[in-house]
Amino acid sequence: MSIEILMPALSPTMEKGNLAKWLKKEGDKVAPGDVIAEIETDKATMEVEAIDEGTLAKILVPEGTADVPVNQLIAVLATEGEDVKAVAAGGGAAPAKAEAPKEAPKEAPTAEAAPAEAPKVDAPKAEATAAPAASAPAVAPAASGERVFASPLARRLAKEKGVDLSAVKGSGPHGRVVAADVEAAPAGGAAKAAAPAAAKPAAAAAAPAAAPVSNSALLEQVKAYYEPGTYEEIPLDGMRRVIAQRMTEARQTVPTFYLTVDCDVDALLKLREELNKAAPEKDGKAAYKLSVNDFVIKAYALAFQQVPDANQVWGGDRYLKLKHSDIGVAVAIDGGKGLLTPIIRKAETKTLSAISNETRELATRARNKKLAPAEYQGGSSAISNLGMFGIKDFTAIINPPHATILAVGASEQRAVVKKGELAVATVMTVTISCDHRVMDGAMGAQLIGAFKAIIEKPMSMLV
């Protein structure tokens, strides 16, 4: 009995992912625990391990394929004694069409690739290349770069009706969009209801006011403004797509107000220096090296405990009031091309050194895209710190369902008035963005006030 390998769900909410890389090729033997492929979700790259033993008979979804739905057949494994070629032929018949390769598989399997252990193996080459690369360009790719499988009649009807085919759920074989699907779809971009945004509670009330424009129509419109050859087209990767969608959603749906305070951080800087100096050595290195941001995380976590009503997230028709302060820390990755927000759980209970080490470890894994979804999903609020870039102050966009986000500027020496006299102090400006559906101005002020009080009396963070 051949074994079907399905697109795994890496988190409970994952609906689709990109097949980033195949680490085994057709004809390779695999043992349980072998990493056979890498799956890229919006925020992480995960490894897919083989559960069964066998020979990888056929790869049905080539690497580099975007938006493969969870549970789609991605490969077939021939178990011991099975005719790999027969399995490949059987498995390949159908789903291969669902996601035909945009390009020929990079590693065209050859006869030599067939393992000696399975003498019955014929070169799987013919099957592997059955979906000819040459046929792909015949179909216009959607703006997102994915190929949409649709019948010619469905394409023509969609064009006439102004329906974006990529938003239509196909009822034909392997999700092929047929004429009836287009006929059933509402005209224009309204068909976009199928887009993932709808699944998020925060978007439930949202109806984009702007006239809907299909992705491909928008692309054509935009391209018309620019001389061909003067630009390069860069398709969105999964993360950019999610950022675009979620930030648009947040900006359009969350009624946000902003509160800004200046914090005097001289005491904090002094304490930081002392603590870092006093750090015990471990393996010839300091056991910890606290950053200003580590204090910010701790202070923010404690502030939520002092104003527990602010520790709520938006749930559509109710709030979720959280017990702990789970603080997300925005980490720029890919040289600024992406963003991840790993979460320091129960930050109010953790020491500064623990927070510091955990943040560093999570940030490293975030940059390597090795975070598990559970490590960046959920949380009370988030911190975005652009101080290291010299930004004085800014406002950040809330990441729903959070009700707040703290934007932290650079600590710099400024002229301030203390007790009626001009003085020099190191000042850090922070701005909190608040979701008015969850809290009013006064509560936001209490929260940011509590934060300021803690940050300016940093010894309180040590108790």
Binding site: S151, P152, L153, A154, R156, L157, A179
Partner: protein, 472 residues
């Protein structure tokens, strides 16, 4: 319990045996009950023996026209016993093939007359035909699912009941002892015109009587008219809008009273009369009433997945309603088997079931006729291409044919295709695929058709619908 099955098919025709094999492929324990003809009517007394006879007729026709091809063939003649023997031999071969396939797929064959006695229970009683080797005996059988696949039989008109001697049905017409000098055929559907072609070629004087104003009533009017002219040119007499109101049997002939719609009454005498006025479903003596299975006009009522109103009872093929075609039955067999196995079965789009008639010239069609398409409110683009413009057809000596294609002018959807001419029954599948894949005229126009083939007429017909035909 050995006698318990996941699914039991009553009837081993194209619906039953194909469904049984599919169910077996899906890992179900399957049985087929048959009382008379392994493989049903199609291989024994239908499609296959008819095609065998028509092949003999076709070859004889070519021999008679050898001169047209620069050949000399003298003293050609018909040995009807030899023609029938060949046909029966082919039937036996096909029927044995069905038995072999069932055995290969480990489908049990139960021999006898099946009756549903309770949900999931079937009593099989003795049949008149002797059981073949390896068949299970009469007795009580149980099955989680029972599929009625009992097919249909010739319709008999009151007062003109077939007697197997003077008034024939297809059974007698498929195995004649001699070629009747004159023949009257009631009904001009596929069965009627195929026998008209066969017997005319074999030397009979043939008259067709059709109640409706058009022969081949389900076909596109233009195609039917084309065929009618060819038939008449061959010497077949055709009366349309005509009803056989009375038949008087003589010693070795029949005299029929025929009334036409214009009020004329005439009497026609012929050696034999073939009653080809359609078929009715075999719904009797199955216990359908006991279980309360709903029937309508001689057929079991089913939904798109072949389910009847009684859970666990299914029906496929002719007994489940028109179109009564073997390939429709086969398809329903597969649908029922997959639905029973819990697979995702697709309901069949009956509009895309092609029809083939093997008269001379052949007729093949799929989808809407021009009249039906207009009736449905479509704005049409209609293409036509004659075989005379096709090199291969002319080289074959078959310059007389027509391919008609009907498109929705708004969307380019292929609504129907209607063909008459040599070998068109082998061409129609191209259009069937096109319709199933929802191609528009564009893909058909852009497709490369091989030269020299008769299939080029299909391409030209599509081109013609868009004012682009090359060879006319």
């Amino acid at each position: 319990m050995a006698n318990n099955y996941d699914v039991l098919f009553i009837g081993s025709g194209p619906g039953g045996y194909v469904g049984a094999i599919r169910a077996a492929q899906l890992g179900l324990k399957v049985a087929v009950v048959e009382r008379q003809y392994m493989g049903g009517i199609c291989p024994n007394w239908g499609c296959i023996p008819a095609k065998a006879l028509l092949r003999s007729a076709e070859i004889f026709h070519y021999i008679e026209h050898a001169k047209d091809y620069g050949l000399v063939a003298e003293k050609a003649g018909v040995d009807i016993a030899g023609v029938v023997k060949r046909s029966r031999g082919i039937s036996a071969q096909m029927s044995n093939g069905v038995a072999f396939l069932l055995k290969k797929n480990k489908v049990d064959v139960i021999w006898g007359q099946a009756t549903l006695t309770a949900p999931g229970k079937v009593t099989v009683a003795a049949a008149t035909e002797p059981a073949p080797k390896g068949a299970l005996p009469v007795g009580e059988y149980t099955a989680k699912n029972i599929v009625i696949a009992t097919g249909a039989r010739p319709r008999a008109l009151p007062g003109i009941e077939p007697d197997r001697r003077l008034i024939w049905t297809y059974f007698e017409a498929l195995a004649p002892a001699s070629v009747p000098k004159s023949l009257l055929i009631m009904g001009s559907g596929a069965i009627g015109v195929e026998f008209a072609t066969f017997y005319k070629t074999m030397g009979s004087d043939v008259t067709i009587v059709e109640l409706l104003p058009q022969i081949l009533p389900v076909e596109d009017a233009e195609i039917a008219e084309h065929a009618r002219k060819r038939f008449e040119k061959q010497g077949i007499k055709i009366l349309t809008g005509a009803k056989v109101s009375k038949v008087v049997k003589g010693a070795d002939n029949v005299t029929a009273t025929v009334e036409t719609t214009d009020g004329k009454v005439q009497t026609l005498t012929a050696d034999r009369l073939i009653s080809a006025v359609g078929v009715v479903g075999n719904i009797e003596n199955l216990g359908l009433e006991t279980l309360g299975v709903k029937t309508d006009r001689g057929c079991v009522v089913v939904d798109g997945l072949c389910r009847t109103n009684v859970p666990g009872v299914w029906a496929i093929g002719d007994v489940a309603g028109p179109p009564m075609l073997a390939h429709k039955a086969e398809h329903e067999g597969v649908i029922a088997a997959e639905a029973i196995a819990g697979k995702h079965a697709h309901a069949m789009d009956k509009l895309m079931i092609p029809g083939c008639t093997y008269c001379m010239p052949q007729i093949a069609s799929v989808g809407l006729t021009e009249a039906k398409a207009k009736e449905a409110g479509f704005e049409l683009k209609v293409g036509r291409f004659s075989f005379i413009g096709n090199g291969k057809a002319v080289a074959l000596g078959e310059p007389d044919g027509l391919v008609k294609t009907i498109f929705d002018a708004k969307t380019g959807r292929l609504l129907g295709a209607h063909l008459v001419g040599a070998e068109v029954t082998e061409l129609i599948q191209g259009f069937v695929l096109a319709m199933n894949l929802e191609t528009t005229e564009e893909e058909l126009i852009n497709a490369v058709f091989p030269h020299p083939t008769v299939s080029e007429t299909m391409h030209e017909s599509v081109l013609s619908a868009y004012g682009r035909a090359i060879h006319m």
